[in-house]
């Protein structure tokens, strides 16, 4: 991107396209994260259905390409849910995953996508309420940010 190009305009909430429903992709490990989602379900804790899941064996498997692919395929936001630090089923897969998420955030910023659209959360399998809360917060955050710049540019 050259300096003369106009950056994608940041959309303020009241300028949202009508009926914007964020599409959010969440990568979950099949240990704590999957189980936290199960716990939220068992307790019927409600959260917005804008979040869809992709299961991975461990968040250590989260690849920079997977995150970028999610954005390319139309996600307005992406987040990763892992076991608590120090409690990863695969010892420190979640730490490797975290450093990749941080790196990807820089990549996103570099191509003009807000880094806040990507986030990582750590929770134990019993924390259904936390799982629901995180989904809600993320949907709210993306609602504020508006559709992904990839979508608006395409338009």
């Amino acid at each position: 991107m050259t300096m003369t190009e106009t950056p994608a305009p940041s959309v303020s909430p009241n300028e949202q396209p009508a009926g914007f429903e964020p599409e959010i992709t969440a990568f979950t490990c099949i240990y704590c994260a999957y189980m936290a989602a199960d716990t939220a379900g068992a307790l019927r804790l409600q959260y917005p259905a804008n979040v869809t899941f992709v299961r991975l064996p461990c968040t250590g498997k989260v690849d920079v390409r997977y995150i970028l692919q999610a954005f390319e395929q139309g996600a307005d936001g992406v987040y990763v849910v892992a076991c608590p630090i120090g409690n990863c089923h695969h010892v420190r897969g979640n730490e490797r995953g975290r450093s990749r998420v941080e790196h990807t955030r820089e990549l996103l910023e570099a191509v003009g996508i807000e880094g806040e659209r990507l986030e990582m959360f750590f929770m134990s399998g019993g924390q259904g309420a936390t799982f629901a809360l995180v989904a809600e917060q993320m949907v709210e955050r993306i609602r504020q940010l508006g559709p992904s710049p990839l979508k608006t540019r395409a338009r």
Binding site: T25, C29, I30, Y31, C32, Y34, M35, A37, D38, T39, A40, G41, A42, L43, R44, L45, Q46, Y47, P48, A49, N50, V51, T52, F53, V54, R55, L56, P57, C58, G60, K61, V62, D63, V64, R65, Y66, Q69, A70, Q73, A75, C83, P84, N87, H89, H90, V91, R92, G93, R96, G97, R100, M123, S124, G125, G126, Q127, G128, A129, T130, A132
Partner: protein, 1025 residues
């Protein structure tokens, strides 16, 4: 006489010990009946939020649940309703009412209380709970919350179904039965009597908590902010009533000061034993409080801090120094409450003798362990003896054997103990049962899939290369999914996806009729890929994998998506978005399946022999247990005699004769037809993997020449032991400064040499400078044993023991009591001011700062006896490198998991027992050795076993050997092998051993050349977003 081919065993108690024992027996082909008196499995461990010192969440590692999809299941996956080990039958809500017969042939009668809910038909929808009018306190949440009379005993209960607590609670109104969409509830069920024939019985009854209400002075039950430790555990647990947010019951405020009072119901007149676990769990709770509650003050009131296992001491030091948990050395005798604020006031005397008064927001009573409630009844029923404290009586050298042949015991029922030791006992008891009954190779299950009985399955169809024909089956789970998600719309959408040839909606996919329909549709429409949209993969993936396998499809060609817990149940009232989400999930699943490949595990036949390294008590015990079961054992001993440290133990505190045990073991080992003893021999090389190791043994013969032998074996057991260090205080040459084992030898062989000795000072915790600080576990009891002997020889001999903490856990506490009764003087010192010894002619001047007097104290001693640290045996580090297994910070071998896998390594087929693991007593070495034998037998007894599965695979044609995977792998598995040419045939490429890979995929995500793929999670599968 039961059918000898049947070989059945009964395990009583469905806690962590009983589950482990049942699984170990099932694995070698013994039929197991697991009886549990409550409605669910898991026992005490299921209630724990975190384990010490690993802070692992028990949800994942323990029994209450285990992450789904684990390729190397620990315990609980084998008990999930749809993944049950075929050799295990579970009876919950069941009591044993009669036992007759003898070892090898018991007839057992059980009485099963009805659940009133059929677990096979319960879909956990919770409709019953909504309409139930009765609320009762939750025992799982230690009374901190309530549940209905129809309830699930725990969020992830096993069996995974509701149950009715009938008793005095249920009003029999029938509303639940009417609300149940699957007609799973039948209020007219009756008690059932079940009769079984079994060859052996394992008691895994566990323990019960001391009832804190019995000690009125602590105010439990009267003062709202006094909790017992299990209540606090639930409060601080992520699966507790508040998801781990600790607050005061009286006003909901976050506590600023919390006190833990130790030894509530332990180490007193009524309970003359140490409960062994409370010091560590209180430390754990205090550390977690410090981590989570801002500026909380934590004080632990403790007599001795007993941190006597691997990494426990550093945990305790971390608690004190890093987290600032305060440890106050005293026993608090009373708690008072300020009625206005419900704050709690403690009066106590500190170590300097000062009276103090302090105010706390919350007091936690560290309640001890008591014999299980049913101990006495069970003892009468089984005709076994209990010890004076009401626990199961065992002898020192047969720690898993009750007083009745054929009846074994494991876990806290024999003496208070923690999870790791309970699991050791459980595997050990299983080995004892195998020794008694033999095992049945024809009754073993294949591990192609977890716990799948392959016997009546059709051959698998080869669908590789065929164009995908995907079937999408959507379960409405009654109305659970259908009422929120528009399944017609989802099915219509799915029908248009590339590769999808068939879509269908089912009412209950998991019910027999649903499974039948699935199988028929797969065959009728020639489907070669299947998506099931239903409920949790955690509970149902294995069920549907089995369904597709039953019609010849590879199980990895199934994709289960969770439309219930992950969609319909959490998006009620958002039908449009929920339907959009379901469509996305189905699209991804189909996309994931199109490039999916059948996965096969490599099949191998194990070598029917074991290698045991070390010929001490642990090594010999393990060798005998394996050889008695009919397998060959190569026992390798570096020395020219068997026995190890046991040769230098002449008597034990309990009074048994260790030399008799030594003779017994040596004679049996030398005479055993299946044991090949390699004396004066060391292991010099080992290659291969589980089931197929090849080892090179180098024997040094008399005269100095050496020969090498090569052996093939399926399992390796490390039993190399430890040794007492010597160089304390630099006074080794002084004739009257000796170690405890020197003193033991004198007392046993030359007591005359001790005549005229009027004054002895014994110093505990003497550590040579090269060793890290840890508790050597056995020294306190050893010191007491020698002190008592000295007092028996001459009651006027003055004995002063200088100690930091007296660590006499379990029933060893009685020797501490007896030593004090006999007049042994105990003075505590701290690391800040260690005792000093100054030779004064033949005698010695010992100087120590007496904490209670607040001034130095000097005494002249005829003998100074040092309790020296126990360190790993010489060569431990070299052996660890050779076998590629890790060492702990203390220098001992490091097992796969401190709590859940105390005898395994991450490297399968290699096991660990005895003092090579950590210093321990003879009986603990024996249990540990039996446990490794049990584990090794699981490998050796398999007709065939399977490697690989969901593992990472390197494409050598893309690998440049950059070592990224080697650095990244959390388990240290990848290696760059020069014999595998990489890119352009240059250098070496990475190799990931499929027998060791844990399947996390971390390396695949990090490989800069994308040369590694995780099977079943190929990039092209996941990128279909």
């Amino acid at each position: 006489m039961p059918n000898p081919e049947e070989r059945a065993a009964l395990v009583i108690g469905g806690g962590v010990g009983g589950m482990r024992a049942a699984l170990d027996l099932a694995e070698v082909g013994i039929r197991v009946y697991l009886v549990e008196s409550t409605p669910g499995l898991g026992g005490r461990v299921a209630q724990l939020g975190f384990m010490f010192p690993t802070h692992d969440c028990v949800l994942c590692r323990g029994t209450s649940d285990h992450g789904y999809g684990c390729t190397r299941p620990s315990i609980s996956p084998a008990f999930l309703d749809h993944n049950r080990h075929p050799n295990i039958t579970i009876f919950t809500n069941t009591l044993v009412v009669a036992v007759e017969g003898q070892a090898g042939d018991f007839r057992v009668m059980l009485s099963q209380e009805p659940r009133y809910v059929d677990p096979a038909r319960c879909i956990n929808c919770g409709e019953c709970e909504k309409v139930c009018p009765v609320e009762i306190p939750s025992s799982f949440q230690a009374g901190l919350s309530t549940h209905k009379a129809i309830y699930k005993s725990a969020p992830r209960a096993l069996p995974d179904a509701y149950v009715i607590e009938y008793g005095p609670y249920c009003e029999d109104c029938g509303r639940c039965a009417r609300a149940c969409p699957t007609h799973a509830i039948d209020l007219n069920q009756f008690f059932q009597t079940i009769t079984l024939n079994v060859g052996a019985i394992i008691l895994a009854l566990g323990y019960q908590l001391f009832d804190a209400g019995n000690l009125e002075e602590f105010g439990h039950g009267r003062y709202p902010n006094v909790l017992h430790s299990m209540q606090y555990e639930r409060l601080a647990s992520r699966s507790g009533p508040t998801e781990g947010i600790v607050h005061r019951p009286s006003d909901g405020k976050i506590p600023k000061r919390i006190a833990w009072l130790q030894c509530i119901g332990s180490r007193d007149q009524e309970n003359p034993f140490c409960s062994s676990i409370c010091c560590m769990y209180a430390t754990k709770q205090a550390i977690l409080a410090k981590e989570r509650l801002a500026e909380v003050g934590c004080s632990v009131f403790v007599m001795d801090e007993r941190a006597f296992n691997k990494e426990y001491n550093s945990y305790y030091v971390q608690s004190r120094e890093h987290y600032g948990v305060e440890y106050v050395r005293c026993r608090v005798s009373e708690v008072r409450e300020d009625p206005a604020t419900h704050d709690l006031i403690l009066h106590y005397m500190d170590e300097m003798g000062q009276l103090r008064r302090e105010r706390f927001d919350m007091v936690v009573l560290s309640v001890g362990t008591q014999p299980p409630a049913e101990a006495e009844a069970m003892a009468r029923l089984l005709d076994i003896e209990l010890n004076p404290s009401g626990f199961c009586r065992v002898d020192k050298f047969t720690p898993l054997q009750t007083s009745r042949p054929g009846v074994f015991v494991c876990g806290a029922f024999s003496t208070p103990k923690e999870i790791a030791e309970t699991l050791i006992d459980a595997s050990g008891a299983a080995a004892e049962v195998v020794r008694l009954l033999g095992f049945n190779p024809n009754n073993q299950v294949s591990h192609v899939l977890p716990f799948l009985d392959e016997s009546d399955l059709p051959p698998e169809k080869d669908v590789n290369g065929q164009p995908p024909r995907v079937g999408v089956f959507l379960c409405s789970c009654g109305s659970c999914i259908g009422e929120t998600v528009d399944l017609d719309a989802v099915a219509d959408g799915a029908a248009h996806l590339p590769g999808v040839v068939y879509t269908e909606r089912l009412r209950f996919a998991c019910f027999p009729e649903g499974r039948h329909y699935l199988r028929r549709a797969i065959e009728q429409y020639g489907l070669n890929r299947v998506v099931v949209g239903a409920c949790s993969g955690r509970t149902h993936e294995s069920l549907f994998q089995r369904v597709v396998r039953e019609v010849g499809l590879n199980p990895y060609l199934l994709e289960l998506i969770n439309l219930r817990e992950h969609c319909a149940w959490v998006h009620q009232g958002q039908p449009e978005l929920a339907t959009r989400k379901a469509q996305t999930l189905v699209r991804r699943a189909v996309g994931r399946l199109r490039p999916a490949r059948a996965l096969h595990r490599q099949t191998l036949t194990p070598a029917a022999a074991a290698l045991v390294i070390g010929g001490g008590v642990a090594g010999m015990t393990a060798a005998l247990a394996i050889a008695d079961s009919g397998y060959e054992v190569h026992l390798v001993e570096r020395d020219d005699t068997l026995g190890g440290n046991l040769r230098h133990i002449y008597y034990v505190a309990e009074g048994d004769n260790p030399q008799q045990l030594l003779r017994d073991l040596v004679n049996r080992v030398l005479a055993h037809e299946h044991i090949h003893v390699h004396m004066r021999t060391e292991l010099t090389a080992q290659t291969g993997h589980v089931g197929d190791f090849r080892s090179t043994l180098r024997t040094t013969h008399y005269g100095g020449f050496t020969t090498e032998t090569s052996v093939r074996h399926g399992a390796t057991i490390i039993a190399t032991g430890g040794r007492e260090t010597r160089n304390g205080y630099g006074l080794e040459d002084h004739p009257n400064v000796i170690t405890q084992s020197d003193l033991e030898k004198l007392i046993a062989h030359n007591p005359q040499a001790l005549e005229g000795v009027r004054s002895v000072v014994m110093i505990q915790c003497v550590r040579p400078p090269h060793l890290p600080d840890y508790c050597s576990r056995t020294c306190c009891t050893n010191t007491l044993k020698n002190a008592i002997r000295l007092k028996m020889l001459d009651e006027n001999c003055q004995i002063i023991v200088l100690y930091k903490d007296i660590v006499t856990y379990g029933f060893r506490e009685q020797y501490y009591t007896e030593a004090r009764r006999r007049g042994v003087i105990f003075l505590r010192y701290t690391d800040a001011r260690k005792p000093e010894i100054e030779p004064a002619g033949d005698r010695l001047k010992v100087r120590v700062a007496d904490l209670s007097l607040g001034r130095p104290f000097e005494v002249m001693a005829d003998r100074v006896v040092l309790s020296m640290s126990i360190e790993p045996a010489e060569g431990t580090a070299r052996l660890a490198r050779l076998l590629q297994v890790p060492l702990s910070p203390e220098g001992f071998f490091m097992e796969a998991h401190l709590k859940m896998r105390p005898m395994d390594f991450m490297q399968e087929g290699v096991f660990l027992c005895g003092m090579a693991h950590y210093p321990k007593f003879i009986e603990e070495c024996i249990s540990h050795a039996l446990a490794t034998a049990g584990r090794a037998l699981q490998v050796l007894s398999q007709k065939s076993f399977h490697l690989g599965g969901v593992v990472a695979e390197v494409d050598p044609a893309r690998c440049v050997g950059c070592l990224t995977c080697v650095r990244t792998c959390p388990f240290g598995i990848p290696e760059v092998r020069p014999d595998r040419p990489g890119v352009g045939d240059l250098g070496g490429s990475a190799y990931i051993d499929p027998s060791r890979c844990q399947g996390c995929g971390t390396c695949t995500a990090e490989c800069p050349a994308n040369a590694i793929q995780l099977l079943n999670y190929l990039d092209e599968q996941i990128m279909q977003l």
